[in-house]
């Protein structure tokens, strides 16, 4: 059942269409979720994994309807717990490709604990967090990623909760792969998803997603054509942190161990710019802190390091024990300990 057993011919036969289920897609017209669905469906054939070896598991939320639209195996579970369902499945069936789709409420509010533990364990799951900074499905309450002061149905006078940075939280939990992309940047999204898919271990991808009904324009500060080049910092491994319409701005670390923006050729030269290295712990953290108004918003892979996946370790341990002790004999087990015979 593993991917490698599939004849090449069949691999090639799959197209994006093969990954579209027969269910009508029911998001609001204009919802950013459509764009994400399209890129995921586009990526799938590339992976060379047959449809039946792929499972999408979600919680509850608009974003969590996702599995219904994928012509793979799927589970629309309960609110916040998708990583836990997925952990059980992946640990017991490591040969499957298991994806988790969640929202900022599902994955970070009620489901925050499962999320951090899954990342800590490094379960080999691809976790897509659709961050629209709002509870869409329940019609517009603020979420743990909504900005301070946000007025929503449950905060008519503005929220007083400081938001999480999903990337920071994932790093804090020890995630081996942390990335960010945007619904309206299809090629960037596709390449980010691809990087996640090929990572061995938990891959946490935050996707900025516009909820045009309850939080329209949440990301226009960095997606609008006019500001985009200055507002986005596209991370590329081995490349310096350079951005801006004229590619004339860069980021360096100052003497106080703080990042700062400088203008190339004016305040400094390219050699001072930090070179992106997704294996550098400190850098990933620093990048996760860059935010407007003083900095552009980084998108791309913040961190990507190797560490054995939980499911692999678990199955290896099982194999080890089997190798050492042999397959357990049930009769022996039942008869273990002190026994005696009554005649």
């Amino acid at each position: 059942m593993s991917a490698d057993l599939i004849p090449v011919s069949q691999k090639q036969a799959l197209t994006k269409k093969d990954f579209q289920s027969d269910q009508d897609v029911r998001w609001c017209p204009g919802c950013g979720d459509y764009a994400i669905l399209a890129q995921v469906q586009k990526l799938m054939p590339e992976l060379g994994i047959p449809r039946h070896d792929i499972v999408f598991i979600s919680g509850i939320g608009c974003s969590s309807r996702f599995p219904y639209y994928m012509n793979t195996y799927g589970m629309h579970s309960i609110h916040g717990r998708a990583p836990a369902f997925a952990t059980g499945l992946k640990a017991s069936r490591p040969e499957l490709s298991v994806w988790v789709v969640t929202g900022d409420g599902d994955g970070l509010s009620i489901g925050g604990n499962h999320m951090i533990h899954t990342l800590r364990r490094n379960v080999d799951l691809k976790i897509l967090l659709f961050n629209n900074r709002i509870y869409g499905l329940t019609k517009g309450q603020y979420s743990p990623t909504s900005e301070l002061g946000k007025k929503t149905k449950s905060t008519p006078y503005g929220s007083v909760d400081a938001p999480f940075s999903p990337a920071q939280l994932a790093l804090g939990a020890g995630s081996t792969f942390v990335a960010r992309s945007v619904d309206v940047e299809p090629p960037h999204l596709l390449s980010t998803l691809r990087a996640a898919a090929t990572h061995k271990g938990s891959a946490f991808v935050e996707i900025y997603q516009n909820c045009n009904v309850f939080n329209d324009g949440a990301y226009s500060y960095m997606t609008e054509k006019a500001v985009k080049a200055d507002a986005q910092l596209v991370l590329e491994p081995g490349k310096p942190l350079v951005f801006g319409k004229a590619k004339d701005k860069a980021i360096r670390m100052n003497a106080k161990l703080q990042p700062e923006v400088f203008t190339l050729g004016k305040d400094g030269d390219l050699s001072q710019a930090i070179v992106h290295d997704p294996t550098n712990e400190t850098l990933a953290w620093m990048l996760a802190h860059l935010a407007p108004p003083h900095f552009p918003t980084p998108i791309g892979v913040f961190r990507s390091v190797e560490r054995p996946a939980y499911d692999a370790l678990m199955n290896d341990q099982e194999k080890d024990v089997l190798a050492k002790k042999g397959k357990g004999d049930l009769q022996k087990l039942l008869n273990a300990g002190e026994t005696w015979v009554v005649k």
């Binding site: 799927g74 717990r81 002190e338 015979v341």
Partner: protein, 631 residues
């Protein structure tokens, strides 16, 4: 007190001249008690092993102190282990001990009220010093009390000193020496009841392979205790309890948690499918997790989750993937799982939820037993959410119940709630080792044929839907917690379909009654009183009914394996008795269900003290019922 020891040790007059009288006994109940640091659980367990090998029937009841190790010598720090053994079948660890071994004043204080008048009381005088007496709240030394001496057969032994003496020159520190005094007590009891010590000695040597000096010290003290009985005239009597006439076969001793773990493993082995346990530790369920964690080469995977919700959720995920999925917990943890149970029943995937009940509500009495989670098991979920519920009745029966839980879960594609309790979990009994080949099969057939496949198409008999696991080509489908179309399983908001699905899920669980054999009645099929129980009270109820029957009373017993659904013939059985008595360790939960199901005005007997029933309590209640004037 010191003087007592002194005298005993310094004066040779106590050395045996006449051999002790050997008295034959039918049944004996011994309780070891002492500080949590005194090793009473080990003492009890070793005595039990020896007793088992001798072929007595037996039942044990370890009674730990509350969760934290209280300071030495205090009342909350007392730990006890009771064993009843007999030359015939017995069903409980005994109502009250015939013999009490009390290692310190606190142990005496909390346990003496249980000792039968005229019973044997062995006290370690060495521990009855000022400090300990004060910690136990004794104003003066109780063992000097004449009333005490009149009421019980008191034996004062300075176990502390004797242990020290027997290890003089062993080179061991005083801490290690003090720790072995439980072996002295054990040795004395082995002598008194003629228990062999070889296996205990082997056990000690195995336990301390890495510290042979400790092993040898323990052996030495054990022998010293035995010899103390043999050579001194401290005790005038020895007792003999003949082997019981148990069914022939090979036996071992198991606790309920061990038996449950073995039942689960056997289910996996018999079905040929991996067992997946997703769990979070909680007293008194943790031992099942511990046991199963060590069975990695038996097709068992255990996942200690971050909480109970992840425990059950991971199990459901594994079940989706084709594993026999299990989650274990106790009341407060089960409360957290109720939302996910609802999902499991919507997904119609096999899953066993095992609740080792403890004293509630809330954190309650975590180390004590109770049967107060029955209503939670049957009714404790949002929406119409029927789940089959079964319970085990003795430590050994946990094996069968655990196995049966999986058999039904798989056959009916449903979560099953399996109830056990702290009393069963930690208690033990001789267990006739079963032949797994003789158990009813657990047949797992994943559907792999995509032809005409619909995710919620049902088996006409069981109403089970097909189990189709990811990895199966051509059968990709999506499941979820929203109401689903009765055939395709796609989301459906259709009102009629919802009603159909609600009724179908209920009907499916109702059909599990087809699996329940005709109700077994212990005693006559009709009569004056039917004692109807469930779960861990089996032993006490059985022994009570047996003794009442012996006295010619028209009393019968029915003990339920299944609580939901109830056996089809139960209503009829109930109606054949004048009175139905339902004894429970709760405020009347089964009786609520029986009343609503059969409109029967059953009599309740409730005890909520974190302790099992005593046989005498049941007998008394039945007698009261038999004697009351008829309306």
């Amino acid at each position: 007190m010191e003087s007592t020891a002194q005298k005993t040790l310094g004066d040779d007059s106590h050395l045996r001249v006449v051999p002790p009288t050997v008295e034959e006994l039918d049944t004996v109940t011994v309780r070891f008690c002492g500080d949590s640091g005194d090793g009473m659980q080990l003492t009890g367990t070793e005595f039990t092993k020896s007793t088992a090998i001798l072929g007595n029937d037996l039942a044990t009841f370890p009674d730990y102190p509350a969760e934290i190790r209280a300071p030495a010598g205090t009342l909350p720090g007392v730990s006890g282990f009771q064993i009843q053994f007999s030359s015939h079948d017995i069903y409980t660890p005994g109502d009250a001990p015939d013999v009490l071994v009390a290692m310190n004043p606190a142990a005496l204080k909390t346990n003496l009220p249980d000792l039968l008048p005229g019973g044997i009381l062995v006290v370690n005088t060495g521990a009855f010093n000022e400090t300990n007496l004060q910690k136990a709240g004794y104003a003066k030394n109780p063992i000097d009390d004449e009333q005490l001496q009149a009421k019980y057969r008191l034996f004062k032994v300075d176990i502390t000193k004797l242990t020290e003496l027997s290890l003089e020159g062993s080179g061991l520190g005083s801490k290690e020496i003090a720790r072995s005094k439980n072996m002295f007590a054990l040795g004395m009891m082995c002598w008194m009841y003629g228990r062999p010590m070889d296996n205990i000695i082997d056990g000690l040597r195995q336990k301390f392979t890495k510290k042979p000096e400790i092993a040898e010290a323990n052996v030495q003290v054990l022998k010293a205790g035995f010899n103390y009985g043999e050579t001194t005239e401290a005790f005038s009597h020895k007792y003999e309890v003949k082997p019981a006439r148990l069914a022939p076969g090979k036996y071992r001793n198991v606790t309920g948690n061990q038996a449950a773990a073995l039942g689960f493993v056997t289910a996996a082995a018999r079905s040929g499918v991996r067992l997946f346990l997703g769990s979070y530790p909680i007293t008194p369920a943790s031992d099942i997790l511990h046991e199963l964690s060590s069975y990695k080469n038996y097709g068992v995977m255990t996942f200690q989750a971050e909480d109970e919700i992840a425990g059950i959720a991971s199990a459901i995920g594994a079940s989706f993937g084709g594993s026999l999925a299990l989650t274990t917990s106790s009341g407060p943890g089960v409360a957290l799982k109720t939302e996910a149970m609802g999902l499991a029943l919507m997904l119609e995937l096999p899953l066993v939820i095992c609740n080792v009940q403890r004293g509630g509500p809330s954190t309650g009495l975590p180390t004590k037993t109770e049967q107060a989670d029955l209503l939670q098991a049957v009714y404790g979920r949002n929406g119409e959410s029927p789940i089959p519920v079964l319970a085990s009745s003795t430590p050994g029966d946990c094996f069968e119940a655990a196995y049966e839980a999986f058999r039904i879960a798989v056959k009916y594609m449903t979560p099953v709630l399996y109830l056990t309790d702290g009393y069963l979990a930690n208690g033990s009994e001789p267990w006739l080792i079963p032949d797994p080949a003789k158990l009813p099969p657990i047949t797992v057939k994943y559907r792999t044929d995509p032809e005409g496949f619909h995710a919620y198409q049902r088996d006409p008999k069981t109403l089970a839907r097909p189990w189709v696991i990811p990895g199966t080509p051509g059968m990709e489908h999506r499941v979820g917690g929203l109401e689903k179309d009765s055939l395709t399983g796609n989301v459906s908001y259709d009102p009629q379909n919802h009603e159909k699905m609600i009724r179908t899920r209920a009907e499916k669980v109702a059909r599990v009654a087809d699996e329940i054999p005709p109700t077994q009645i212990f005693g006559e099929p009709s009569g004056d009183v039917l004692v109807l129980g469930w779960g861990g009270t089996y032993g006490a109820l059985h022994q009570a009914v047996e003794s009442l029957q012996k006295r010619g009373k028209k009393v019968s017993q029915v003990h339920l394996r299944w609580l939901n659904p109830l056996p089809k013939d139960l209503g009829e059985v109930i109606r054949r008795f004048q009175t139905v008595l339902v004894p429970e360790l709760n405020l009347g939960q089964l009786s609520k269900i029986l009343r609503s199901t059969y409109l029967v005005d059953c009599v309740t007997l409730n005890k909520i003290q974190g302790k099992p029933f005593k046989v005498a309590e049941i007998v008394a209640k039945v007698n009261e019922l038999l004697e009351r004037p008829r309306a």
